[in-house]
């Protein structure tokens, strides 16, 4: 059972040769493959993180732009409303003024006509009263 012979050194040499061969055909290539895979995964992860950052930034930017635009459009609406309001008030005021002017004019005209009619009436009264007087004086005189 404990018979040592040339098996011992030969097995040792065989094992060392096996280690050397395994180093070439197993450890080195597989370590390289695993390292490459880790690098690949790391770079992909970084890339993905960058892309996510970029997407987040873009989304934020778009959101901001959207908010800006919304604010702008609200401002526009408010402006337009204010302008419309102003125009409406102006027009109403103008119309009122015009109406009042016309009213005034009509009253003035009416007054003038009244004056004219009164003046005419007075003349006619004068003429009538002179006729009456002449008739009366003529009859007696």
């Amino acid at each position: 059972m404990f018979d040592f012979d040339a098996t011992l050194p030969l097995i040792a040499i065989q094992f060392l040769v096996l280690t050397a061969i395994m180093n070439v055909v197993f450890y080195k290539p597989l370590t390289r493959v695993i390292g490459e895979r880790e690098d690949y995964i790391r770079s992909k992860k970084n890339e993905a993180r960058e892309r996510l950052d970029k997407a987040n930034r873009l989304a934020e930017q778009y959101e901001q732009e959207l908010a800006n635009t919304r604010r702008q459009s609200q401002g526009l609406i408010a402006d337009a409303q204010a302008e419309a309001q102003k125009i409406a008030t102006e027009q109403v005021a103008a119309a009122q003024k015009e109406v009042q002017g016309e009213l005034l004019q009509a009253q003035q005209e009416l007054n003038q006509q009244k004056q004219a009619a009164l003046g005419q009436l007075e003349q006619e009264v004068d003429a009538l009263s002179r006729q009456i007087l002449r008739k009366l004086v003529g009859a007696t005189g």
Binding site: T7, L10, P29
Partner: protein
Amino acid sequence: MHYSGLLLDMLNGFDPMPLAKLEVGHHLYWRIGDLTIHGQVFLTSWIVIGLLLIASIAATRNAQRVPSGIQNLMEYALEFVRDLTKNQIGEKEYRPWVPFVGTLFLFIFVANWSGALVPWKLIHLPEGELAAPTNDINTTVALALLVSLAYFYAGFKKKGLGYFAKYIQPTPILLPIAILEDFTKPLSLSFRLFGNILADELVVAVLVLLVPLFVPLPVMMLGLFTSAIQALVFATLAAAYIHEALEGHGEEEAH
């Protein structure tokens, strides 16, 4: 040195069953010049090495970014041994030791499981029988001595001759114990692995001898479990010894 064993003679004496025979200490001897080697150890270790190499080449031949099939399995194995080494040696210096510790783990693991899963007994050899390579004391001692060399190498490479300072670090009184440690480390490493694997196979063999069907199955499952744990223990201890040599006794830090 060829003992046919006391229990062996007894058991084989009254057991006519050819199903299981307890054979310890029988080897298939090959002769190369003046040297004798245990043929069955080399046969099975070549199969184990072939399995490992085929799996590695199949995994890396067409390595994809998204792994599948065998590549997935081998990547899991690689990450497992890398984590094991990192946990023991530390983040800073573990890298050059991953192949050594990892190959230790993978070789012992596949060897142990091949002994438990492959029905070697069906293949008849002229002498001895096929079993896990770690079933032979030569293999485990070879691996344990390699671990010793590795941690000496690690210490020398890091600190030069200053590595010897750790022998007299707290006090020179402990010098004999520190030297003794260098001998007990490979001894316990090799005996632990050898004993566990041999014990597994013997227990299974004895149970098969007694009840050939079904009853040995739970013990076989336990054997699979122990084999895996022993491979893990061997690799963990190897990495821990290397770490100790790298750190020295003075600056013990938690890992």
